[in-house]
């Protein structure tokens, strides 16, 4: 049995892990996992497991370059991503404690949350977010966005709405223009690590200015973050984006349930 999606999917219409194209992986999340921090969360999207803790808003460290002029108008968000040595399939030894991937995830998260949170309420302060990736199995950035959102909600930091991330890919290389008559490629929701490695995918994070509700309007949905590193013909982008945004909506409901469920306890 060949183990790649691009060959098996057209035959079975099932992905490697048995999902259909529009199915998310099982999401399990918890908030207030670590009493020592202002806010914390645990999030597992399939086999991608992330722990996130938030400290602050607190007084910024003195002598910090970002703590000075930049912080005068609002809080500064600091994100620190740590991918554990045992997170991947092979054990990875990182030199100096961080690598390229964690650095990129950290800077993307920082810019996403810096603009998302109501930082103007906390001038001269720092909100520091620590993300530990315990197990990485695709959609790392999306899972990290969701975990951070939960932890920041737990910490009680005001934000306009939940920031939810999701990935979307195509079930083939999608390098030729899309043929509307013979459309054999399906978009895939929430890609896993093997899919991430062979297929084009993008990560999108959306937010709403109004908290979720039954009367949610499509117009209120805002894309807060969008990254794509792979090559795909431009005609597919719209499909992928639509699927990704839809995935974010599903995730928002799940996160919403987690937050409401924990507050009832």
């Amino acid at each position: 049995m060949p183990l790649d999606t691009s060959t098996t999917y057209p035959l079975t219409k099932l992905r490697l892990d048995g999902r259909r194209w529009n199915e998310l992986r099982l999401i399990h999340a918890q908030i207030s996992t670590n009493p020592a921090s202002s806010g914390s969360s645990y999030l597992a999207m399939g086999n991608t497991t992330i722990l996130c803790s938030v400290h602050g808003p607190a007084e910024g460290r003195r002598g910090d370059a970002t703590g000075g002029a930049a912080g005068s108008s609002g809080a500064v968000v600091e994100v620190d991503v740590n991918i554990a040595g045992f997170a991947g399939i092979d054990r990875k030894r990182r030199a100096g404690g961080s690598d390229k991937q964690s650095g990129r995830v950290a800077s993307t998260l920082r810019s996403a949350f810096q603009s998302h949170l109501h930082t103007y309420l906390y001038p001269h302060s720092t909100i520091s977010v620590h993300v530990s990736v315990l197990s990485a199995d695709g959609s790392l950035l999306a899972a990290a966005v969701n975990a951070c959102t939960l932890a920041l909600v737990d910490a009680g930091i005001p934000m306009p709405g939940l920031l939810c991330g999701c990935t979307a890919g195509m079930s083939g290389s999608a390098s030729t223009p899309r043929d509307p008559l013979n459309d054999y490629l399906d978009p895939l929701l929430d890609v896993s690590l093997p899919e991430e490695q062979e297929l084009p995918f993008l990560t999108v994070a959306t937010t709403t200015s109004v908290p979720t509700g039954a009367d949610e309007d499509e117009d209120d949905m805002k894309v807060a973050m969008l990254t794509m590193d792979s090559k795909v013909h431009h005609t597919y982008i719209e499909t992928m984006l639509a699927v990704g945004v839809d995935g974010c909506k599903q995730i928002r409901e799940i996160l919403d349930g987690v937050i409401k469920g924990s507050s009832q306890r």
Binding site: P35, A36, S37, N47, L51, A84, S135
Partner: protein, 396 residues
């Protein structure tokens, strides 16, 4: 941050005033019955929550959280690696006798090794790698390096006897697949927040649990073949083998127990005449001596055995001294010198004024060390209590 790195081994010294330090020291040094700030008995550990097998991507994992919110996660990963051969293994058959004979004097471990024939000798300590990550520290800072070495040392050292359910040649021997291949074990320790106290007990307990939960895939190849393994994870074997419980009926509900268990490292401090286990940050700040004692269960004699001891620099040496009233400019004249008689501390031999903190100096008496070791090792002592407690944690 810089100051923190400087205090390499002592971890962070809490900012306590000399008066607070003196109060702590006095209450902890009460003869016989020390009063600990959190009301524990001298041998009592802090309550903790533990779970194992939390990460699907590892061979074994565990999470332990203290009530104060400090959490540690340990993931164990095993990889197959080719063995670098020494002179003896490379040499011809006639030298094999010599090699076997030579290995014989290395205790029970290797006798078992030569019995199995194809499995050669014992493993190497370097096959076990340990990395500790502590937020706020770089991974080559002194504290993580020292902690990792401290915990790796007893692990590779624990050679235990063979026999039914035993581990031939200890952990090192267990990692040998055949003459040319072996497992390499990566133990990654992750501390999730800045440590509030010296993190050794937390890390050691978590590592212990993670190793207990560690499974290696079942070997399907035989002898000197290149190894291949059973795909079925359910068939995998525990790194530390388990046997059906016979003697240890004391633990309710457990069907299988480990005959061989990974070592645990206990943090023990002495304050005056008292020995205190699992010190909190405040307690360690006034300790006269801090020892890390690693023990494991000795299957041959059904008792605990000592694997390693390390002294840890007590942070009390770096604290600020208090000023007795007789020397204090602010209160000069209000007290006479006679009121504050200088007494000699019986345990340290230093002259001090009661109630005035003086940083500790000097070392620790041999008798004190012996007493600390005895309390850990003795039958029904703290070491057994901890190992039994860990055995109670549902594993797998």
């Amino acid at each position: 941050m810089a100051a923190q790195r400087q205090a390499s081994s002592a971890s962070q010294t809490p900012h306590l005033s000399p008066a607070e330090l003196s109060y702590l020291y006095t209450s902890l040094s009460l003869p016989g019955t020390p009063i600990r700030p959190d009301g524990r008995s001298p041998t009592q550990f802090r309550p903790l929550a533990a779970e194992t097998d939390i990460l699907p991507g590892t061979n074994g994992s565990a999470r332990v959280g203290f009530a104060d919110g400090t959490q540690a996660i340990v993931g164990v990963k095993a990889e197959v690696e080719r063995t670098a051969l020494g002179i003896q293994a490379l040499s011809t058959a006639e030298q094999q006798d010599y090699a076997a004979a030579g290995n014989d004097d290395r205790g029970g471990g290797n006798n078992g090794g030569s019995k199995q024939g194809s499995v050669s000798g014992s493993g190497q300590g370097s096959w076990v790698q340990m990395a500790i990550e502590i937020p706020g520290f770089r991974d080559d800072d002194a504290l993580p390096v020292f902690l990792a070495e401290m915990m790796r040392e007893p692990l590779v050292e624990s050679v235990s006897g063979g026999g039914e359910g035993g581990m031939v040649g200890g952990l090192k021997g267990r990692l040998v697949i055949n003459r040319r291949w072996h497992w390499r074990l990566y133990i990654d320790v992750l501390l999730l927040s800045q440590p509030l106290s010296y993190p050794l007990p937390l890390l050691s307990l978590t590592t212990h649990l993670a190793l207990l939960a560690t499974k290696l895939p079942k070997l399907k190849s035989k002898g000197e073949e290149d190894p291949f393994f059973d795909d079925d994870w359910n068939a995998a074997e525990y790194l530390y083998p388990r046997v059906k419980s016979t003697k240890h009926s004391s633990i309710p509900g457990s069907i299988s127990v480990h005959k061989v268990r990974p070592p645990v490292t206990l943090l023990v401090v002495s304050v005056a005449e008292n020995i205190i286990f699992d010190p909190s940050r405040e307690e360690i700040a006034v300790a006269d001596a801090v020892l890390a004692i690693s023990v494991t269960y000795d299957t041959d004699f059904d008792r605990l055995k000592l694997l390693s001891i390390r002294t840890i620099d007590p942070p009390s040496r770096l604290t600020q001294p208090g000023v007795p009233n007789s020397e204090n400019v602010a209160t000069l004249g209000s007290t006479t010198a006679a009121e504050e008689s200088v007494i000699v501390n019986p345990s340290t031999g230093e002259e001090e004024v009661p109630g005035v903190w003086r940083p500790r100096r000097g070392g620790v008496k041999r008798a004190t060390i012996a007493k600390m070791i005895k309390m850990v090792l003795e039958k029904g002592g703290v070491g057994e209590e901890v190992l039994d407690g860990l055995e109670g944690v549902e594993v797998g």
